[in-house]
Symmetry: C2
Subunit: 449 residues, 2 copies
Amino acid sequence: MTTYILRPVLSTLKLWHVRGRCSAPQSDDLAQVKTMLQLCVDRYFISPGKSNTARFRRGMSCNYGPLGMELRRNLLEQWWRSVSSSRDQVFGISTVSCTMDGDSDTGEGGGHLRMVEAESLKQMLQQENISKEQIIQELQSLLQRAPPLRRNLLQGALLQFVPMLELVNRKLPFGLAEVGLCFEPSDGSGRLTEFTQTSLVWFCSPRTSSQWLDHWARQRLKWWRKFSLSPSGFSISNVPGEEVIAAASRGVRVLYNFPWGQEALETLWSRGDAELLHVHNGVRSKLQCRNERKSVPQVLSITGNVDCGLMAFLFNSLQQLEKKDGKQRLQHRKVLKLHPVLSPIKVALDTGRGATVELKQVCEGLLHELMETKITVWPGYLEPAPTSMEQLFAKYDEMGVLFSVVITEDTLETGLLQVRSRDTTIKETMHISAIMNFLTRYISAAEKI
Amino acid sequence: MTTYILRPVLSTLKLWHVRGRCSAPQSDDLAQVKTMLQLCVDRYFISPGKSNTARFRRGMSCNYGPLGMELRRNLLEQWWRSVSSSRDQVFGISTVSCTMDGDSDTGEGGGHLRMVEAESLKQMLQQENISKEQIIQELQSLLQRAPPLRRNLLQGALLQFVPMLELVNRKLPFGLAEVGLCFEPSDGSGRLTEFTQTSLVWFCSPRTSSQWLDHWARQRLKWWRKFSLSPSGFSISNVPGEEVIAAASRGVRVLYNFPWGQEALETLWSRGDAELLHVHNGVRSKLQCRNERKSVPQVLSITGNVDCGLMAFLFNSLQQLEKKDGKQRLQHRKVLKLHPVLSPIKVALDTGRGATVELKQVCEGLLHELMETKITVWPGYLEPAPTSMEQLFAKYDEMGVLFSVVITEDTLETGLLQVRSRDTTIKETMHISAIMNFLTRYISAAEKI
């Protein structure tokens, strides 16, 4: 396999000093970051390339390879399940990322970034007899027509509040959950960034908003820790007074302790009712709930950055081991001990040394059987053959694959194959007829934990 | 429940004549469209509002309510499963929607729409002593810096080709699958649109590309029909010569017969190798595969519009029934007979007439049990109480809910509850201890069909 040389590492490291809240990274930490980024490129979590690695490292959306894409899917699925099944009053919604009618160009939600048709701008500039005033006028009208791109999912949820209030018989509390792409002008560099946000907007009575903020902060921390290898990396802390945004009275952050310092994965704000009133033009009667003396609901926002969360779980799950091999040589092993539920690939199928047509057919059959039970499988038999079995298992450890199944010429004769576990490194010999049952049992048990 | 008055219907109907390929709609068809759109708003598939309904009707991304959002999730999940598990050589990827470095501003992929920071443009216009030439210069440099928004997912896949070719040991065929947001300048109206695209880009040898195009066209048609109530609404047809895009040699469309005429849900193109070569600056050696005499792969693109597909399944599944009630009055019933796998809500829990605290607790308990087995449940007991049981079932039929479970005061005493099926309209009395088993069995059986 090709190892992409990771030139961008140093340039991304330079970003540290602009991120704030970071202690100076130690050389051990530097090495850990470098190892992690290289692993992500080599093992198809992210695509190679300087700017892509930099984007990933800064917690933005980037080009993900098959493993990164699956990890992200799993993460989003778990977030969704946790938020929507935690309470009966959480409803999913999906809103557009650019508003056509300027109907939500208010507050924090939009305004900064706009989609412009480059062609019409170019055509205007090519007109010969156009005056400065005309240019300015046309530009202003163009800007007004250009739809703003959302910076967060809050506005969408606030707009959906009214029909949803009818749905729950005007009773509080309830919540609206959404996952979607958001856009942000980047600080300083002039570059624009996109990222995938998770959002739960919770509407509750003024009397209970403080308890709800604490409730959700605890819930979210519990969720992050549930899937982590070393839970102490995740923590919560109140947002210090000077950093509280204008709209909010109080904030809590879920933090992860990256090698370069703590960064927020999720932020919870108690935002009062001003923004909700603003979006609905101050018409209190539309917003009043039946219980709680007809008060206008308080808004809590719980927003996370999926790309940043994905990176946290990757750093959290990386174990670097030193082990002496048979000839007493020191070996460095990297194992990505992702939680079984998050692991992008549960099972890898391989033939060890070069796949013959018959071996490939056995692999394909098993692959389809596993896929039908919704288990993600890696077709290792398609990849270039490794030089040794140790190399093969090392590769799958770096991919976080739970089980490596090796099918050899022996399998064709005896029906026996080898199953190797990532977490125990134990290799078992098993009959091919028993493998499906073994794997589905283990994986569905892991999902229920 | 509030019924939103559907003023936009007429204005969206006016859109028909601009869409082309449409026969003049009959008044029956008009009524059907009107009924469908009203149902979608009333039953939380889409959010109310004139522009939102228009967007939905035109097959763009719109603001979806809880049911629309779940239906979309189910549709994407099924698409994903079908594409990724159909063959072992399909890999999922995820690419960014705006490129930062202009590195993919080529061909069909970008260029037209750009993200502009409105603030910097405004600031420029406010400078007093700026000359016309300076404005033009600054605008040109602004345009060049502004990242283009993608119009399709093809470019991303073509860029990912090289690392993925290494992965499969330089052997063809293989495919890259992705789902993502794309942006398009709207024709004529000057408005911009966003939509969610599904994309499979298939790389194969020149010799086999024609067979692969036929293979995928058949597969895709089979997929659409699998989930439909009346499969004949879906068809495939070759793209007529005059409509074939410049990059492609041949095209096939999967069409749905909407009340206003046929529209494409998915389009398959045989695109040759020119775009792939262009993206990789013509470096053939990077692109050559090991088999097939080191040829550069041919590219097939299979792209669908999720929002349009969702609408097709809604129209396809709507059954309008006339039935006489006990008093010989003619009743009109609408049933959304969505495939069990696609139905956004599998089970509704209700109490019929107003929920007491005890009844609500029983409902909540059952709701959490069902959610844990990944069955989507509707908390009907939170909604305003209906006037009759018939009204209640009519509502759930319009939501496409598979089973309505009614818990009453009797349940508290005897443990018995009523289960009503959407498809048979049969009501069964069942003990509460048996309900979980009954529902999970039915639903998991339906998923395996």
